[in-house]
């Protein structure tokens, strides 16, 4: 921070008192404790105490093949979604840095327009577009690909989820790519490197921090997805969130549902903890450049 040292005599009088800043954050922290902290604690406690105290719900979760299949599927679908997002976002973000201001505005609008309409409505559009008699299937049929099923399959879920999450990949990628000095590429080419070589040895490594940042956000958000898989998926593409909901709302098994929720929560935070140091060092490298 470039601001003055708070102990400098000319700083505002109240800046020196250490408790003031904490007091300002207190209302937000109290609400956080009441509406996030306490509920999550309740879920952890219920997963350990219902019907009796013990780890029975976790034993049940990891001892039931169906649960493990769904857990694995949740990770596989999230990985696919992340991969699709990287592949689609990379050229798009690059183009955003390479075009004039007018085209860039159009490209930015295309990224933001999905946010203008409620997420549920967009998922509904996917249901209509992907259904067996829908536009995409008739296009595929006329192109000679008959009998492709999209709705209620994993492919359909991945298409819908990737579309929702794509902006979260494009925006960090764009902000990193914007800062890459394109003269480096020109220098490489003037020294005799072919464009592809210049890309792979210079541009790609410099843009990786953006890829990491986007991939982590997309993967973590994908793990917790609920609405899209519920509406676009079928029984063979159920994700963990749906299972949690069924246990709690339909079967009233708070202990089991809670245990599943805790597994999902722990997976999310472990991933974040693993990713944070990598991302920080990558960003630092990019900053040092």
């Amino acid at each position: 921070m470039s601001a003055l040292d708070p102990t400098t005599p000319s700083a505002p009088k109240w800046a020196g008192r250490a408790w003031r800043p904490f007091a300002l954050t207190l209302p937000a922290l109290l609400l956080l404790a009441a509406v996030i902290g306490y509920p999550l604690l309740t879920i952890v406690l219920r997963s350990l105490s219902e019907p009796q105290w013990g780890a029975q719900n976790y034993v049940w979760f990891f001892g039931t093949p169906v649960n493990l299949t769904v857990l694995q599927r949740t990770f596989v679908i999230s990985a696919w979604v992340t991969l699709v997002c990287i592949i689609c976002a990379y050229p798009y973000a690059y183009l955003m840095t390479a075009v004039g201001p007018r085209v860039r505005l159009a490209l930015v609008l295309c990224v933001l327009i999905p946010f203008w309409v409620s997420g549920v409505v967009r998922t509904l559009s996917w249901v209509i577009l992907l259904q067996d008699s829908g536009v995409i299937n008739s296009l595929l049929r006329s192109a000679g690909f008959d009998g492709v099923r999209l709705i209620r399959t994993q492919t359909g879920v991945v298409i819908g989820m990737a579309q929702v999450l794509l902006p979260f990949m494009i925006l960090p990628l764009y902000s990193v790519m914007k800062g890459i000095d394109l003269r480096l590429m020109r220098a490489a080419q003037s020294l005799g490197a072919r464009p592809s070589r210049a890309f792979f040895t210079i541009y790609l490594p410099l843009s990786l921090p953006g890829v990491y940042a986007g991939a982590i956000i997309v993967f973590i958000l994908a793990l917790g997805f609920y609405i899209t898989p519920a509406l676009l998926g079928g029984p063979r593409s159920t994700m963990l969130s749906t299972l949690v909901q069924t246990q709690v709302l339909s079967l009233l098994q708070w202990g089991r549902g809670g245990a599943m929720g805790v597994v999902l929560l722990v997976a999310t935070f472990v991933l974040l903890a693993l990713a944070a140091p990598v991302m920080r060092s990558r960003y630092r490298e990019a900053g040092r450049r």
Binding site: A3, P21, A28, L31, C88, Y92, G261
Partner: protein
């Protein structure tokens, strides 16, 4: 960067496809909303306004819309006040505790929706908050808080604190300094935080699905119920109305901002 013409064409083509993929689901609801039959189909058949009429006259739809407006407005104000206070506190704290507290306050963004939803549902069942305005407002405020915090913090980072010192040295009290110097400078961050908070609440579905009851439904809950129950094209009409309203708001905002900037020059 020098590119071969072929690479350039392929890049352009890929980006057009991605753009269509991004935009298509938002735009297909517009023609679907004018469908004549009571079915959701694309491409639609015939033309009618009946689904718009249904949205404004059917109490299920109009009351859930009003509920959403009410909840989102309260949430926007509440989250902006709490988020701005917190952003100030974090900005003026030593670096280490500030980092920890900031991470803590951003957790609502990464906690999986359903896990949070069952937790809040469990607590609300005990506290009799299911299906109440207070319940919705509390839950949505905490989900909107990170967006306000990020927006205002970004503004505070480029804020030159010497301006406050200057005001104080010229004899302004803490309140006057805040009102005449600090507030106008961070107002853009607060406004974008307000907008994000409103949008977050207006669009929130996962937690809302759990804490709703037949007496208090928000618009996304009503949309979800309608999708899972039948193929009512009113959903498409709602989507179109929201799309047009947002376009008007954003377009108007951009025009206003542009005029203001020109006026200052």
């Amino acid at each position: 960067m020098e590119m071969k013409p072929l690479t350039r064409v392929i890049l352009g083509l890929v980006c057009v496809l991605v753009a269509v993929w991004l935009v298509a689901p938002t735009l297909v609801v517009i023609p679907m909303s004018f469908n004549e039959n009571k079915s959701l189909a694309f491409p639609p058949q015939g033309f009618s306004w009946q689904w718009y009429q249904n949205f404004f006259t059917n109490p299920d739809w109009s009351s859930s819309f009003l509920n959403s407006l009410k909840v989102a407005s309260i949430v926007a104000v509440l989250a902006t006040v709490l988020g701005t206070l917190a952003a100030f506190g974090l900005d003026r704290m030593r670096a280490r505790p500030a980092t920890v507290l900031r991470m803590l306050m951003l957790t609502p963004m990464v906690v999986p929706g359903v896990v949070l939803a069952i937790g809040i549902y469990a607590v609300y069942l005990d506290a009799h908050l299911v299906g109440t305005l207070t319940g919705f407002v509390l839950a949505h405020t905490i989900l909107a808080l990170p967006f306000v915090l990020i927006a205002v913090s970004a503004n505070l980072e480029v804020f030159d604190r010497r301006l406050e010192t200057a005001a104080a040295s010229l004899g302004a009290g803490a309140v006057t300094t805040f009102r005449t110097v600090t507030l106008p400078l961070i107002l853009p961050g607060m406004l974008s935080g307000l907008l994000f908070a409103f949008a977050t609440s207006f669009d929130e579905i996962v937690v809302s699905l759990f804490i709703t009851n037949p007496y208090l439904k928000t618009l996304p809950v009503q949309i979800f119920a309608s999708i899972t129950r039948d193929a009512d094209p009113t959903v498409a009409a709602v989507g179109t109305i929201l799309f047009c309203a947002t376009t008007l708001l954003i377009g108007g905002g951009m025009l206003l901002l542009g005029r203001e900037r020109k006026g200052r020059l």
